[in-house]
Amino acid sequence: MSAGSHKTYRIPIGPVHVGLKEPVTTWLDVDGERIVKATVRPGSIHRGIEWMARERNPIQVIYLAERICGICSFTHIVAFLRAVEDAAKIEVPIRAQYIRSLVLELERVHSHILWAGVACYTFGYDSAFNLGMLLREKVMDVLEALTGNRVNYGVGTVGGVRRDLTPRAAKAVREMIEFYRREFQTFLDVVTEDPIAKARMRNVGVLSQEDAVKYCALGPTARGSGLRVDLRHSSPYEAYGDLGVTPLVPQDYNGEVFGDVYDRFFVRVMEVIQSLELLEKIVDGIPEGPITWEPKLPKVLSALKAADGIGWGIIEGPRGDDTHVVKLTKGEENVTWWKVRAPTYANAVSWPLMFKDQEIADAPLIINSIDPCISCMERILVSDARAGRSEILTRARLVERCREKTRRLMGA
């Protein structure tokens, strides 16, 4: 290592990353293996979704909201729907609320297991990754049985849900709960008790409780820093008021809080087990009744056209609270404006703090630690100095270049 000399150089992590506004390029100023400074630059996947929504009616926006992020798609839908229902004063039937909660919890299970697996993959623990992903297929099967899709389920609609919970699906959910109760402990043991895994995660990317408050951290990131914040507890929505969720913090289990990657990992893995309990309560307690406020779409649309006002929907997604704000104007079919705040948007502000004085080896892990979306693992790009080239490449030129290279290759 460059001992003595303090020549720092910049390496980029990213820019390919995920979510609505969550994709991030992180420029790390590195001295040897140590990170001196981190600059975060999101925006590589800014698609202008909020702007697109201005030309669509709320029902159409649902499908746009679903594609903000493929992992927490249902979270975004429910947050959006709650905002619309708040603005239009629509009451959702109880059964629909339970089904929404059910899918939200299933999504949390799949998201957390995916994240835990990917985190293991990030520090080269492929076996745990494979084990995690193997376990995750079970919840994907249940989601498929319930909704017909593995990802982007399309079950939400204004005033309710589009798919009922059939007895068969309920049985599948119960089976899944049994399966995880049996099998998930192995994964937990493999990862939390592995010495290398622990060494890689402990005291890495620390976010103190004070900073977590100041930088408005959310979800498992905040809970990993010891804050008892969980919207399912502090402002219950849908069926969560009946389920009684308590925030899960590491100090209740381990006695102390480090606020590091391990704590965030621990919170997420334990939340899977918590979700299983919630799922059981939901399946047991789901009441009979209609699943939509109004099954006929034209009626819904006319009600939305007549609505006027701003609605705010905020729910606890797998990664933290997801905020949607919608303005509907009387006489206008389309959404006037719409604001989405995915959890990573808020959590990313605290990234530079976590990076300070860490090693490059930890950088992808730290990036991962707040964002359980599939990480930048295989998508870190090398950006080179040739970026300064001013020539604009057309597609024809590119093909030409490609052929040129071929000729060069064959000539050599």
């Binding site: 999101p42 004070e210 408050v213 502090s234 219950p236």
Partner: protein, 182 residues
């Protein structure tokens, strides 16, 4: 002002907060509404949202007052071009850690005249607002006084900074800036 970076464990009732806001703002308060969010079985109030419309002059005073009650957790800023004014909404919450059903959502909605699009930055008080302020700057053209970092956040490096994507007037994206993919 130094804020205490922790949440209170006990909440105040919404009426008390509302009185406090009324006192602090005086004539700067334009409108205040308390919404009760009902859900569950039996249907009952699960949490409350407070919607406040206020003048720009009373904004900092109110934030400081609310910070004395609890650390104001900042969610996001939203905004819209409403013709003569740009409306900026700050979505925050109080009593985040104060127990079941006690969180109080607070939305501060402030109209800013277009000929004077200046707003005080909160990033000194709540560092978590930095991204939102940068976003509002590039999307709506609001100048935040005291915001250190004014780099582009979401738009590409070669973006023409005169174009503000969310504006509906001549500074918004012109048809030639918009691409139809299919």
């Amino acid at each position: 002002m130094t804020c205490r970076p922790q949440y209170v464990q006990e909440c105040k009732c919404p009426d008390e907060v509302m009185n406090c806001i009324r006192e602090t703002l005086g004539e700067c308060l334009l409108e205040m509404e308390l919404r009760e969010r009902m859900d569950g079985m039996p249907r009952r109030v699960l949490y409350r949202d407070l919607w406040i419309r206020l003048k720009r002059d009373g904004f900092l005073k109110l934030v400081d007052r609310l910070m004395e009650i609890d650390f104001l957790h900042f969610h996001v800023m939203s905004g819209n071009d409403d013709g003569d004014v740009v409306t900026l909404n700050l979505h925050c919450s109080l009593f985040r850690e104060a127990g079941a059903g006690h969180r109080l959502g607070v939305t501060l909605s402030i109209p800013i005249p277009k000929d004077d699009l200046v707003f005080p930055s909160l990033s000194g008080r709540i560092p978590g607002t930095e991204y939102s302020e940068r976003e509002m700057r590039e999307m709506l053209g609001i100048h935040f006084e005291g915001l250190q970092n004014t780099d582009l956040l979401f738009l590409p490096e070669n973006w023409d900074e005169e174009i503000k994507p969310w504006r509906r007037d001549e500074t918004g994206p012109a048809p030639e800036n918009i691409r139809e993919l299919s």
